[in-house]
Subunit: 225 residues, 2 copies
DNA sequence: TTGATATTGATAGCTTTGCTATCATAAATA
DNA sequence: TATTTATGATAGCAAAGCTATCAATATCAA
Protein backbone atom coordinates (compact mmCIF):
# COMPACT_ATOMS: atom_id res chain seq x y z
CA UNK A 1 0.00 0.00 0.00
CA UNK A 2 1.26 3.43 -0.90
CA UNK A 3 0.34 6.22 1.47
CA UNK A 4 0.37 9.70 0.10
CA UNK A 5 0.81 12.42 2.67
CA UNK A 6 -1.74 15.15 2.04
CA UNK A 7 -1.46 18.45 3.82
CA UNK A 8 -4.63 20.48 4.02
CA UNK A 9 -4.00 23.91 2.55
CA UNK A 10 -5.87 27.18 2.97
CA UNK A 11 -8.00 27.56 -0.15
CA UNK A 12 -7.56 31.30 -0.39
CA UNK A 13 -3.89 30.75 -1.20
CA UNK A 14 -4.51 29.43 -4.69
CA UNK A 15 -6.96 29.76 -7.60
CA UNK A 16 -6.80 26.13 -8.69
CA UNK A 17 -5.73 23.22 -6.50
CA UNK A 18 -2.05 22.62 -7.32
CA UNK A 19 -2.19 19.05 -6.05
CA UNK A 20 -5.05 18.33 -8.45
CA UNK A 21 -3.18 18.36 -11.75
CA UNK A 22 0.15 17.59 -13.33
CA UNK A 23 0.75 21.24 -14.15
CA UNK A 24 -0.10 22.22 -10.58
CA UNK A 25 2.40 19.75 -9.16
CA UNK A 26 5.03 20.94 -11.61
CA UNK A 27 4.44 24.49 -10.44
CA UNK A 28 5.14 23.44 -6.85
CA UNK A 29 8.12 21.31 -7.73
CA UNK A 30 9.82 23.77 -10.06
CA UNK A 31 9.10 26.80 -7.91
CA UNK A 32 10.90 25.08 -5.04
CA UNK A 33 13.86 24.38 -7.30
CA UNK A 34 13.97 27.88 -8.76
CA UNK A 35 13.54 29.77 -5.50
CA UNK A 36 16.19 27.55 -3.95
CA UNK A 37 18.55 28.24 -6.82
CA UNK A 38 18.03 31.96 -7.47
CA UNK A 39 16.30 33.29 -4.36
CA UNK A 40 12.82 34.70 -4.01
CA UNK A 41 13.63 38.19 -5.35
CA UNK A 42 14.91 36.89 -8.68
CA UNK A 43 12.08 34.39 -8.97
CA UNK A 44 9.33 35.30 -11.46
CA UNK A 45 6.34 33.48 -12.91
CA UNK A 46 7.78 34.00 -16.37
CA UNK A 47 10.97 32.13 -15.49
CA UNK A 48 8.98 29.47 -13.68
CA UNK A 49 6.76 28.98 -16.73
CA UNK A 50 9.79 28.63 -19.01
CA UNK A 51 11.34 26.15 -16.60
CA UNK A 52 8.18 24.05 -16.61
CA UNK A 53 7.44 24.42 -20.29
CA UNK A 54 4.18 26.28 -19.91
CA UNK A 55 3.24 29.94 -20.20
CA UNK A 56 3.14 32.74 -17.69
CA UNK A 57 -0.65 32.83 -17.91
CA UNK A 58 -0.66 29.13 -17.09
CA UNK A 59 1.02 29.78 -13.75
CA UNK A 60 -1.29 32.69 -12.98
CA UNK A 61 -4.23 30.31 -13.24
CA UNK A 62 -2.92 28.57 -10.12
CA UNK A 63 -1.50 31.40 -8.04
CA UNK A 64 -2.41 35.07 -7.94
CA UNK A 65 1.16 36.14 -7.39
CA UNK A 66 4.49 34.93 -6.09
CA UNK A 67 3.79 36.16 -2.58
CA UNK A 68 0.84 33.78 -2.24
CA UNK A 69 2.94 31.00 -3.69
CA UNK A 70 5.61 31.65 -1.07
CA UNK A 71 3.01 31.54 1.68
CA UNK A 72 1.70 28.32 0.16
CA UNK A 73 5.14 26.73 0.22
CA UNK A 74 5.99 27.84 3.75
CA UNK A 75 2.54 26.79 5.00
CA UNK A 76 3.02 23.40 3.45
CA UNK A 77 6.37 23.17 5.19
CA UNK A 78 5.00 24.08 8.63
CA UNK A 79 2.19 21.59 8.20
CA UNK A 80 4.68 18.94 7.22
CA UNK A 81 6.90 19.76 10.23
CA UNK A 82 3.94 19.50 12.55
CA UNK A 83 3.13 16.11 11.09
CA UNK A 84 6.76 14.99 11.51
CA UNK A 85 6.66 16.10 15.11
CA UNK A 86 3.48 14.25 15.95
CA UNK A 87 4.78 11.22 14.06
CA UNK A 88 8.17 11.14 15.78
CA UNK A 89 6.99 12.03 19.28
CA UNK A 90 3.89 9.88 19.12
CA UNK A 91 4.97 7.26 21.60
CA UNK A 92 7.21 9.44 23.73
CA UNK A 93 5.95 10.06 27.24
CA UNK A 94 8.69 12.25 28.67
CA UNK A 95 8.05 15.85 27.52
CA UNK A 96 11.74 16.66 27.88
CA UNK A 97 12.66 13.97 25.39
CA UNK A 98 9.82 15.18 23.21
CA UNK A 99 11.06 18.77 23.24
CA UNK A 100 14.57 17.63 22.40
CA UNK A 101 13.37 15.74 19.39
CA UNK A 102 11.38 18.79 18.28
CA UNK A 103 14.51 20.91 18.43
CA UNK A 104 16.37 18.30 16.45
CA UNK A 105 13.65 18.13 13.80
CA UNK A 106 13.70 21.89 13.39
CA UNK A 107 17.44 22.35 13.29
CA UNK A 108 18.65 19.27 11.43
CA UNK A 109 18.90 18.94 7.67
CA UNK A 110 15.99 17.12 6.16
CA UNK A 111 16.32 14.20 3.85
CA UNK A 112 13.91 14.26 0.93
CA UNK A 113 11.15 11.92 2.00
CA UNK A 114 9.75 10.07 -0.95
CA UNK A 115 6.16 10.17 0.26
CA UNK A 116 5.63 13.45 -1.51
CA UNK A 117 6.84 13.13 -5.05
CA UNK A 118 6.55 16.75 -6.09
CA UNK A 119 7.98 18.30 -2.93
CA UNK A 120 11.67 18.09 -2.11
CA UNK A 121 11.61 18.69 1.63
CA UNK A 122 15.35 19.27 1.82
CA UNK A 123 15.21 22.16 -0.64
CA UNK A 124 12.01 23.45 0.91
CA UNK A 125 13.71 23.50 4.31
CA UNK A 126 16.47 25.67 2.85
CA UNK A 127 13.89 27.96 1.28
CA UNK A 128 12.07 28.39 4.57
CA UNK A 129 15.38 29.24 6.25
CA UNK A 130 16.32 31.91 3.75
CA UNK A 131 12.95 33.21 2.56
CA UNK A 132 10.40 32.08 5.11
CA UNK A 133 10.16 35.28 7.10
CA UNK A 134 9.45 37.25 3.92
CA UNK A 135 6.05 35.57 3.95
CA UNK A 136 4.97 37.66 6.94
CA UNK A 137 7.41 40.59 7.03
CA UNK A 138 5.15 42.66 4.82
CA UNK A 139 2.62 45.44 5.06
CA UNK A 140 -0.21 42.98 4.28
CA UNK A 141 0.60 40.79 7.28
CA UNK A 142 -2.59 41.92 8.99
CA UNK A 143 -4.90 41.04 6.11
CA UNK A 144 -3.03 37.82 5.38
CA UNK A 145 -3.37 36.88 9.01
CA UNK A 146 -7.11 37.59 8.95
CA UNK A 147 -7.36 35.08 6.12
CA UNK A 148 -5.60 32.54 8.34
CA UNK A 149 -2.59 32.26 6.06
CA UNK A 150 -0.25 31.78 9.01
CA UNK A 151 -2.32 29.19 10.81
CA UNK A 152 0.13 26.32 10.18
CA UNK A 153 2.98 28.36 11.67
CA UNK A 154 0.85 29.37 14.64
CA UNK A 155 -0.40 25.83 15.17
CA UNK A 156 3.15 24.53 15.23
CA UNK A 157 4.09 27.23 17.68
CA UNK A 158 1.17 26.25 19.90
CA UNK A 159 2.17 22.58 19.79
CA UNK A 160 5.71 23.40 20.85
CA UNK A 161 4.44 25.83 23.48
CA UNK A 162 2.35 23.04 24.98
CA UNK A 163 5.28 20.66 25.14
CA UNK A 164 7.21 23.40 26.92
CA UNK A 165 4.37 23.70 29.43
CA UNK A 166 4.39 19.94 29.92
CA UNK A 167 8.06 20.21 30.82
CA UNK A 168 7.58 23.17 33.08
CA UNK A 169 3.96 24.09 33.87
CA UNK A 170 4.92 27.35 35.53
CA UNK A 171 7.15 28.70 32.79
CA UNK A 172 5.85 32.12 31.86
CA UNK A 173 6.76 32.45 28.18
CA UNK A 174 5.92 29.17 26.40
CA UNK A 175 4.77 30.75 23.13
CA UNK A 176 7.58 33.27 22.88
CA UNK A 177 10.08 30.55 23.65
CA UNK A 178 8.47 28.36 21.00
CA UNK A 179 8.72 31.05 18.33
CA UNK A 180 12.28 31.74 19.46
CA UNK A 181 13.19 28.07 18.99
CA UNK A 182 11.64 27.95 15.54
CA UNK A 183 13.19 31.18 14.31
CA UNK A 184 16.59 30.54 15.83
CA UNK A 185 16.82 26.98 14.54
CA UNK A 186 16.67 28.61 11.11
CA UNK A 187 18.55 31.84 11.68
CA UNK A 188 21.52 30.20 13.36
CA UNK A 189 21.71 27.88 10.38
CA UNK A 190 21.61 30.79 7.93
CA UNK A 191 24.20 32.72 9.94
CA UNK A 192 26.48 29.72 10.32
CA UNK A 193 26.79 29.37 6.56
CA UNK A 194 26.53 33.01 5.49
CA UNK A 195 27.53 35.32 8.34
CA UNK A 196 29.45 32.93 10.56
CA UNK A 197 30.77 35.51 13.00
CA UNK A 198 27.22 35.94 14.27
CA UNK A 199 27.42 32.42 15.67
CA UNK A 200 29.79 30.18 17.60
CA UNK A 201 29.67 27.50 14.93
CA UNK A 202 31.52 29.19 12.09
CA UNK A 203 34.51 26.88 12.37
CA UNK A 204 32.85 23.51 12.36
CA UNK A 205 29.58 24.37 10.61
CA UNK A 206 27.89 21.50 12.39
CA UNK A 207 24.15 21.43 12.87
CA UNK A 208 24.75 19.37 16.00
CA UNK A 209 26.13 22.50 17.61
CA UNK A 210 23.03 24.54 16.83
CA UNK A 211 20.98 21.78 18.42
CA UNK A 212 23.25 21.84 21.48
CA UNK A 213 22.93 25.62 21.73
CA UNK A 214 19.13 25.50 21.50
CA UNK A 215 18.91 22.67 24.01
CA UNK A 216 21.08 24.62 26.42
CA UNK A 217 19.04 27.79 25.87
CA UNK A 218 15.67 26.12 26.25
CA UNK A 219 16.32 23.80 29.14
CA UNK A 220 18.18 26.26 31.29
CA UNK A 221 15.26 28.66 30.80
CA UNK A 222 12.48 26.27 31.69
CA UNK A 223 14.22 24.16 34.32
CA UNK A 224 14.71 26.62 37.10
CA UNK A 225 11.18 28.14 37.28
CA UNK B 1 28.30 73.71 21.38
CA UNK B 2 26.29 71.51 19.05
CA UNK B 3 27.58 68.01 18.58
CA UNK B 4 26.55 66.21 15.45
CA UNK B 5 26.71 62.46 15.71
CA UNK B 6 28.45 61.09 12.63
CA UNK B 7 28.36 57.39 11.90
CA UNK B 8 31.08 56.14 9.62
CA UNK B 9 29.51 54.34 6.68
CA UNK B 10 30.94 51.81 4.26
CA UNK B 11 31.73 53.77 1.09
CA UNK B 12 30.73 50.96 -1.25
CA UNK B 13 27.13 51.42 -0.14
CA UNK B 14 26.61 54.69 -1.98
CA UNK B 15 27.78 56.56 -5.07
CA UNK B 16 27.76 60.01 -3.50
CA UNK B 17 27.96 60.75 0.21
CA UNK B 18 24.35 61.25 1.35
CA UNK B 19 25.44 63.22 4.42
CA UNK B 20 27.31 65.62 2.17
CA UNK B 21 24.41 67.46 0.54
CA UNK B 22 20.87 68.61 1.13
CA UNK B 23 19.54 66.24 -1.50
CA UNK B 24 21.43 63.35 0.06
CA UNK B 25 20.00 64.03 3.49
CA UNK B 26 16.53 64.34 2.01
CA UNK B 27 16.98 60.93 0.39
CA UNK B 28 17.77 59.40 3.78
CA UNK B 29 15.00 61.21 5.58
CA UNK B 30 12.26 60.56 3.05
CA UNK B 31 13.27 56.97 2.37
CA UNK B 32 12.87 56.27 6.08
CA UNK B 33 9.43 57.83 6.04
CA UNK B 34 8.31 56.05 2.88
CA UNK B 35 9.62 52.60 3.80
CA UNK B 36 8.04 52.98 7.22
CA UNK B 37 4.74 53.95 5.64
CA UNK B 38 4.46 51.57 2.68
CA UNK B 39 6.98 48.83 3.36
CA UNK B 40 10.14 47.97 1.47
CA UNK B 41 8.45 46.03 -1.35
CA UNK B 42 6.23 48.95 -2.37
CA UNK B 43 9.07 51.43 -2.02
CA UNK B 44 10.59 52.66 -5.32
CA UNK B 45 13.08 55.33 -6.24
CA UNK B 46 10.44 56.92 -8.43
CA UNK B 47 8.06 57.40 -5.51
CA UNK B 48 10.93 58.56 -3.33
CA UNK B 49 11.94 61.14 -5.92
CA UNK B 50 8.39 62.46 -6.18
CA UNK B 51 8.17 62.65 -2.40
CA UNK B 52 11.38 64.66 -2.24
CA UNK B 53 10.69 66.80 -5.27
CA UNK B 54 13.59 65.56 -7.36
CA UNK B 55 13.83 63.03 -10.18
CA UNK B 56 14.42 59.31 -10.24
CA UNK B 57 17.83 59.87 -11.82
CA UNK B 58 18.66 62.19 -8.96
CA UNK B 59 18.21 59.39 -6.45
CA UNK B 60 20.20 56.97 -8.58
CA UNK B 61 23.16 59.33 -8.33
CA UNK B 62 23.33 58.56 -4.62
CA UNK B 63 22.36 54.89 -4.43
CA UNK B 64 22.73 52.12 -7.00
CA UNK B 65 19.46 50.50 -5.99
CA UNK B 66 17.04 50.19 -3.12
CA UNK B 67 18.79 47.14 -1.72
CA UNK B 68 21.96 49.13 -1.05
CA UNK B 69 19.87 51.91 0.44
CA UNK B 70 18.27 49.40 2.82
CA UNK B 71 21.68 48.11 3.85
CA UNK B 72 22.78 51.71 4.33
CA UNK B 73 19.83 52.44 6.62
CA UNK B 74 20.18 49.26 8.66
CA UNK B 75 23.95 49.74 8.96
CA UNK B 76 23.40 53.24 10.16
CA UNK B 77 20.96 51.90 12.72
CA UNK B 78 23.34 49.22 14.04
CA UNK B 79 26.13 51.77 14.28
CA UNK B 80 23.83 54.08 16.15
CA UNK B 81 22.75 51.29 18.54
CA UNK B 82 26.36 50.42 19.24
CA UNK B 83 27.03 54.06 20.05
CA UNK B 84 24.00 54.17 22.34
CA UNK B 85 25.23 51.07 24.13
CA UNK B 86 28.73 52.38 24.71
CA UNK B 87 27.26 55.71 25.77
CA UNK B 88 24.75 54.26 28.22
CA UNK B 89 26.98 51.55 29.67
CA UNK B 90 30.08 53.70 29.77
CA UNK B 91 30.31 54.02 33.52
CA UNK B 92 28.70 50.71 34.44
CA UNK B 93 31.07 48.20 36.03
CA UNK B 94 28.77 45.27 36.63
CA UNK B 95 28.45 43.30 33.37
CA UNK B 96 25.05 41.96 34.43
CA UNK B 97 23.68 45.49 34.73
CA UNK B 98 25.34 46.29 31.43
CA UNK B 99 23.72 43.36 29.66
CA UNK B 100 20.35 44.28 31.06
CA UNK B 101 20.63 47.79 29.73
CA UNK B 102 21.65 46.40 26.34
CA UNK B 103 18.52 44.26 26.22
CA UNK B 104 16.45 47.26 27.17
CA UNK B 105 18.03 49.41 24.47
CA UNK B 106 17.32 46.78 21.84
CA UNK B 107 13.77 46.00 22.83
CA UNK B 108 12.40 49.37 23.88
CA UNK B 109 10.89 51.94 21.59
CA UNK B 110 13.27 54.66 20.64
CA UNK B 111 12.56 58.33 21.00
CA UNK B 112 13.71 60.40 18.06
CA UNK B 113 16.95 61.89 19.26
CA UNK B 114 17.46 65.35 17.89
CA UNK B 115 21.19 65.00 17.37
CA UNK B 116 20.59 63.66 13.89
CA UNK B 117 18.28 65.98 12.08
CA UNK B 118 17.66 63.91 9.00
CA UNK B 119 17.25 60.51 10.72
CA UNK B 120 14.17 59.69 12.75
CA UNK B 121 15.47 56.90 14.95
CA UNK B 122 12.02 55.83 16.07
CA UNK B 123 10.87 55.18 12.51
CA UNK B 124 14.19 53.63 11.63
CA UNK B 125 13.84 51.24 14.56
CA UNK B 126 10.47 50.12 13.18
CA UNK B 127 11.98 49.68 9.74
CA UNK B 128 14.78 47.53 11.08
CA UNK B 129 12.22 45.39 12.90
CA UNK B 130 10.07 44.78 9.83
CA UNK B 131 12.58 44.99 6.99
CA UNK B 132 16.02 44.58 8.55
CA UNK B 133 16.52 40.90 7.83
CA UNK B 134 15.77 41.48 4.14
CA UNK B 135 19.15 43.20 3.99
CA UNK B 136 20.94 39.88 4.37
CA UNK B 137 18.32 37.23 3.47
CA UNK B 138 19.34 37.34 -0.17
CA UNK B 139 21.39 35.38 -2.66
CA UNK B 140 24.05 38.14 -2.67
CA UNK B 141 24.68 37.84 1.06
CA UNK B 142 28.09 36.31 0.38
CA UNK B 143 29.30 39.09 -1.89
CA UNK B 144 27.73 41.77 0.29
CA UNK B 145 29.49 40.26 3.27
CA UNK B 146 32.83 40.26 1.43
CA UNK B 147 32.38 43.98 0.96
CA UNK B 148 31.89 44.30 4.71
CA UNK B 149 28.33 45.54 4.41
CA UNK B 150 27.30 43.77 7.59
CA UNK B 151 30.20 44.90 9.72
CA UNK B 152 28.10 47.18 11.96
CA UNK B 153 25.75 44.30 12.74
CA UNK B 154 28.63 41.95 13.39
CA UNK B 155 30.45 44.51 15.52
CA UNK B 156 27.37 45.00 17.65
CA UNK B 157 27.02 41.26 18.01
CA UNK B 158 30.64 41.01 19.10
CA UNK B 159 30.19 43.77 21.67
CA UNK B 160 27.19 42.00 23.18
CA UNK B 161 28.98 38.66 23.02
CA UNK B 162 31.82 40.13 25.05
CA UNK B 163 29.49 41.48 27.69
CA UNK B 164 27.97 38.00 27.92
CA UNK B 165 31.46 36.56 28.44
CA UNK B 166 32.13 39.16 31.14
CA UNK B 167 29.03 37.89 32.92
CA UNK B 168 29.89 34.27 32.45
CA UNK B 169 33.39 33.53 31.12
CA UNK B 170 32.67 29.87 30.58
CA UNK B 171 29.44 30.26 28.62
CA UNK B 172 29.85 28.39 25.37
CA UNK B 173 27.64 30.32 22.95
CA UNK B 174 28.21 34.05 23.47
CA UNK B 175 27.89 35.04 19.81
CA UNK B 176 24.86 32.91 19.06
CA UNK B 177 23.19 34.18 22.21
CA UNK B 178 24.02 37.73 21.17
CA UNK B 179 22.47 37.31 17.73
CA UNK B 180 19.50 35.60 19.37
CA UNK B 181 18.97 38.59 21.66
CA UNK B 182 19.18 41.05 18.78
CA UNK B 183 16.87 39.13 16.47
CA UNK B 184 14.37 38.22 19.14
CA UNK B 185 14.17 41.73 20.55
CA UNK B 186 12.87 42.65 17.12
CA UNK B 187 10.89 39.56 16.16
CA UNK B 188 8.97 39.36 19.42
CA UNK B 189 8.04 42.99 18.87
CA UNK B 190 6.85 42.30 15.33
CA UNK B 191 4.95 39.21 16.43
CA UNK B 192 3.37 40.96 19.39
CA UNK B 193 1.77 43.55 17.14
CA UNK B 194 1.13 41.47 14.03
CA UNK B 195 0.94 37.78 14.91
CA UNK B 196 0.28 37.97 18.64
CA UNK B 197 -0.40 34.28 19.17
CA UNK B 198 3.29 33.63 18.51
CA UNK B 199 4.07 35.44 21.75
CA UNK B 200 2.87 35.63 25.34
CA UNK B 201 2.38 39.38 25.12
CA UNK B 202 -0.58 39.60 22.77
CA UNK B 203 -2.92 40.80 25.49
CA UNK B 204 -0.94 43.62 27.01
CA UNK B 205 1.33 44.48 24.08
CA UNK B 206 3.92 45.80 26.50
CA UNK B 207 7.55 46.06 25.52
CA UNK B 208 8.38 45.59 29.20
CA UNK B 209 7.28 42.00 28.85
CA UNK B 210 9.59 41.35 25.91
CA UNK B 211 12.41 42.74 28.01
CA UNK B 212 11.42 40.48 30.91
CA UNK B 213 11.30 37.46 28.59
CA UNK B 214 14.73 38.20 27.15
CA UNK B 215 16.23 38.83 30.57
CA UNK B 216 14.84 35.53 31.79
CA UNK B 217 16.09 33.72 28.69
CA UNK B 218 19.56 35.21 28.78
CA UNK B 219 20.31 35.09 32.47
CA UNK B 220 19.05 31.60 33.07
CA UNK B 221 21.25 30.45 30.19
CA UNK B 222 24.46 32.09 31.31
CA UNK B 223 24.08 31.84 35.06
CA UNK B 224 24.27 28.12 35.57
CA UNK B 225 27.38 27.35 33.42
C1' DT C 1 36.90 87.46 -12.85
C1' DT C 2 37.27 83.72 -15.46
C1' DG C 3 37.35 79.10 -16.23
C1' DA C 4 36.96 74.46 -14.61
C1' DT C 5 34.37 71.21 -11.81
C1' DA C 6 30.60 69.31 -9.48
C1' DT C 7 25.61 69.09 -8.55
C1' DT C 8 21.02 69.08 -9.88
C1' DG C 9 16.91 69.21 -13.08
C1' DA C 10 14.57 67.73 -17.15
C1' DT C 11 13.67 64.48 -20.42
C1' DA C 12 13.97 60.26 -22.99
C1' DG C 13 14.22 55.53 -23.60
C1' DC C 14 14.78 50.67 -22.90
C1' DT C 15 14.24 46.07 -20.58
C1' DT C 16 11.97 43.34 -17.18
C1' DT C 17 8.29 42.42 -14.03
C1' DG C 18 3.60 41.83 -12.94
C1' DC C 19 -0.67 41.05 -14.50
C1' DT C 20 -5.12 40.57 -17.53
C1' DA C 21 -7.63 39.26 -21.61
C1' DT C 22 -8.87 36.56 -25.61
C1' DC C 23 -9.29 32.62 -28.56
C1' DA C 24 -8.33 28.01 -30.04
C1' DT C 25 -7.53 23.28 -28.96
C1' DA C 26 -7.37 19.08 -26.37
C1' DA C 27 -9.00 16.23 -22.72
C1' DA C 28 -12.20 14.66 -19.45
C1' DT C 29 -17.03 14.00 -18.11
C1' DA C 30 -21.96 13.71 -18.21
C1' DT D 1 -22.29 13.35 -28.39
C1' DA D 2 -22.55 17.55 -26.05
C1' DT D 3 -20.28 20.24 -22.75
C1' DT D 4 -17.55 21.58 -19.32
C1' DT D 5 -12.60 22.14 -17.93
C1' DA D 6 -7.67 22.62 -18.50
C1' DT D 7 -4.09 24.11 -21.24
C1' DG D 8 -1.50 26.59 -24.96
C1' DA D 9 -0.60 30.59 -27.69
C1' DT D 10 -0.52 35.27 -28.21
C1' DA D 11 -1.22 40.08 -27.25
C1' DG D 12 -0.97 43.99 -24.60
C1' DC D 13 -0.38 47.34 -20.92
C1' DA D 14 1.22 49.72 -16.59
C1' DA D 15 4.79 49.92 -13.37
C1' DA D 16 9.48 49.05 -11.83
C1' DG D 17 14.30 49.30 -12.50
C1' DC D 18 17.87 51.37 -14.65
C1' DT D 19 21.00 54.27 -18.02
C1' DA D 20 22.07 58.18 -20.88
C1' DT D 21 22.13 62.92 -22.41
C1' DC D 22 21.99 67.90 -22.14
C1' DA D 23 21.22 72.19 -20.00
C1' DA D 24 21.27 75.16 -15.92
C1' DT D 25 23.36 76.36 -11.61
C1' DA D 26 26.45 76.61 -8.03
C1' DT D 27 31.15 76.23 -6.23
C1' DC D 28 35.86 76.69 -6.10
C1' DA D 29 40.53 77.57 -7.74
C1' DA D 30 43.71 80.20 -10.51
Amino acid sequence: MKLQLQIKMNEALFLRIPEGSELGKKIIKHSIQLIYKNGFEAFTFKKLAEDIGTTEAGVYRYFENKHKLLIYLTSWYWGWVEFQISFHTNNIKDPVVKLKSVIKLLAATIEDDKQTSYVNEGLLHQIVIAEGSKAYLTKQVGEDNKQQFFKPYKDLCAVIGNIILECSPKYKYPKSLASTIIEMAHYQNFFMYNLPSLTDFGKTKEEKEIIAFLNDLVFSSIKKG
